[in-house]
């Protein structure tokens, strides 16, 4: 097991180096002078020169890359052009918002996805099965930016039940400790704060959860059907166990493996979706920030955050692989 983990860690190294090169080259691939791209066409020659000097753009490429990597090693991914603050410092307040949103969406997706997949598999061929399959197909076919608009129109405009945007109501005052609203609400024993945050997270989380929900439902159904055909399930039935025990104790446990993998892969989908969902719901997270930075041509932010997201993505995949190997010894021998 240790050697497996080591091997996977080693395999991740070239990928991470590649990621850093791609992110590094991003700014240099923009047509024209990056300094002009950053400052705008009307910038004075002096300012452009100063920025070129500052960014080290007059040095050879490999020297620039080395500077970039050295910065990374110290946790420095650059400074925002607009605010001149370090990107990582700015990310500190935005990451928790994205984590909260994606965690809510993933929880929702897991509950509904595993539920629908299990119902589908145990009632195979029935109306429930068909309904669940249609629903999961609709889930991967619906554009989430459209679903977001429909949800806002339905539940914030037509029926004014939920707030259309933001993370908290404007009149909600509180002093953040961790920047995770739910954690802070718990620490400060603020029921009203938690409720307000919950009301705000429902619609964006619902929109963001559809694709993972659909994928998890399909995977759960397929995995359960596979397992329900296995000999040990027949044995469990033959010895007179009630169907519920067979499904829950014998089948579910073994069907969990592929589902775990699929859940791990959802992180990328969730982060992709977060860019759109956060933009639609004015959610003050990383996704909207990246998008706004692209519009504002604040490329160091885009560069830094892309790097952070890619590293998270690679790490999650690594953890999933290791988890999978821990659960299924056959994987370790490849």
């Amino acid at each position: 097991m240790v050697s497996f983990i080591l091997r996977r860690l080693l395999e991740a190294v070239p990928v991470l180096i590649g990621v850093s090169i791609v992110v590094f080259l991003f700014l240099r691939l923009i047509p024209g002078d990056p300094a002009i791209a950053l400052l705008g066409e009307r910038a004075s020659e002096q300012n452009v020169q100063r920025l070129r000097e500052q960014m080290g753009l007059n040095q050879p490429l490999h020297v620039q890359y080395w500077r970039f990597v050295r910065g990374l090693a110290q946790g420095d991914v650059g400074r925002s052009i607009r605010t001149t603050r370090p990107v990582m410092a700015e990310a500190g307040s935005r990451f928790p918002a994205t984590v909260e949103l994606t965690a809510a969406a993933l929880t929702l997706a897991l509950l509904t996805g595993v539920g629908a997949g299990t119902l589908s598999a145990t009632w195979r061929g029935s109306f429930i099965d068909h309904a669940a399959r249609v629903l999961s197909l609709a889930g991967i076919s619906i554009p989430i930016f459209w679903l977001g608009l429909v949800l806002i129109w339905l539940f914030a405009v037509q029926l004014p039940w939920l707030p259309p945007d933001g993370r908290l109501s404007a009149e909600m005052r509180y002093s953040p400790i961790t920047n995770f609203v739910f954690v802070d609400a718990l620490l400060q024993r603020r029921g009203d704060l938690a409720l307000d945050a919950l009301r705000h997270v429902i619609l964006p989380a619902l929109a963001l959860s559809t694709v993972p929900m659909a994928i998890i439902a399909r995977m759960t159904r397929a995995a359960l059907l596979e397992v329900l055909r296995a000999d040990y399930v027949r044995t469990a039935r033959a010895k007179g166990l009630p169907e519920r025990a067979v499904t829950l104790r014998h089948a579910m446990k073994n069907a969990a493996l592929p589902v775990v993998t699929i859940v791990g892969l959802q992180v990328g989908i969730l982060l992709s979706g977060a860019i759109l969902t956060e933009t639609i719901f004015s959610w003050p997270g990383v996704g909207r920030w990246i998008f706004e930075s692209i519009l504002n041509r604040d490329f160091p932010v885009v560069q830094g955050m892309s790097l952070v997201i890619a590293v998270i993505f690679v790490s999650v995949n690594l953890v999933v692989d290791v988890l999978y190997a821990a659960l299924d010894p056959r994987i370790r021998v490849r």
Binding site: L137, S141, P143, L149, L276
Partner: protein, 307 residues
């Protein structure tokens, strides 16, 4: 099934050694006929195909179906609800939403198909190379593909378009590129599975060149997963293109592109929800069509892949 039994099943003749298991005697039929028969019986797949054909027909026949211009603005007609004159109502600039949805189909279908063609083309080449050119090439290419896969697809697409400038061409390019690793991996896996097969070894023994082996013997036999994946890929590409359009990075105004239409409609949710409902509905229906058909194709072409 061992090779002797397989041969027996193909020719319909009994092998010299009697098989331990009874071989079901079936009339001779090619795998393609089999697949088509399975596909015809799959109601969901047929529904998907019909949706695709319908959307294609509506897109191609747009000028015959509506006389309204998708771009012309009639400001006195702003935000009019659906009526007989404007089937889907009008948008904030008084443009006919029905006409825009119809013409928008041309753009979405074209972007979807071109982007996938680009992704499949490049991905297949890269995958063939990785699978066949030896260990060094394989590990370099595989790592490169992993690097591309390390970025969430939408982020990568946005970054590519941001670097090259917004527009439909760059949208297609970006979506094509994010598809490359998917097709490359599929092709590579097929090549690895096929290159030790007897008929490939035989071809090599007769002195066939590497290119000939790859394109004559290996590629045709690894098409099944590629066809399935690219059908499903069109669905994803259409959504991604609409997302870029929605974010203002894809098609530019006044192009009647579905995603871009949603950006305009977003500010008029209260007064004109129809301007938002119909373009989004069109995206969903088209994507659903490709997903249904792709699922059906997978089941029909490769029963073993069936969940």
């Amino acid at each position: 099934m061992n090779s002797e039994l397989a041969a027996a099943a193909r020719t319909g003749q009994l092998p010299v050694v009697a098989p331990a298991l009874p071989v079901p005697v079936r009339p001779l039929r090619g795998p393609l006929t089999d697949a088509l028969r399975r596909l015809r019986r799959d109601r969901a797949a047929i529904a998907g195909l019909l949706i695709i054909l319908l959307m294609a027909l509506l897109a191609v026949g747009a000028p015959l179906i509506t006389r309204q211009d998708p771009i012309e603005q009639t400001l006195v007609n702003r935000l009019k609800p659906p009526s007989s004159a404007h089937l889907f109502g009008t948008d904030n600039l008084g443009r006919d939403v029905f006409a825009r949805v119809l013409y928008g189909g041309r753009i979405s279908l074209r972007v979807g198909l071109v982007a996938v063609a680009l992704g499949v083309g490049l991905g297949t080449l890269v995958g063939l190379l990785a699978g066949y050119a030896g260990r060094v090439a394989d590990s370099v290419i595989s790592r490169l593909m992993e690097v591309l896969l390390a970025f969430p697809s939408t982020l990568l697409a946005i970054a590519i378009v941001a670097a090259r400038g917004p527009g439909l061409e760059n949208t297609m390019l970006a979506i094509g590129i994010i598809g490359v690793p998917v097709y490359a991996r599929l092709t590579r896996a097929s090549v690895l599975a096929l290159k030790e097969r007897d008929y490939v070894v035989a071809a090599r023994c007769t002195g066939a060149s590497g290119a000939r082996i790859l394109f004559r013997h290996i590629l045709p036999n690894s098409l099944t997963p590629l066809i399935v994946q690219s059908t499903l890929g069109v669905a994803t590409a259409i959504i991604e293109a609409a997302a870029l359009g929605f974010l203002g990075l894809g098609a530019q105004p006044p192009t009647p592109e579905w995603g871009l239409m949603l950006t305009d409609a977003r500010n008029f949710l209260l007064n004109a929800p129809w301007a938002m409902i119909f373009p989004g509905g069109a995206i969903m229906l088209t994507v659903l069509g490709f997903n249904l058909f792709g699922d059906g194709l997978r089941d029909a072409l490769d029963p073993q892949m069936r969940p």
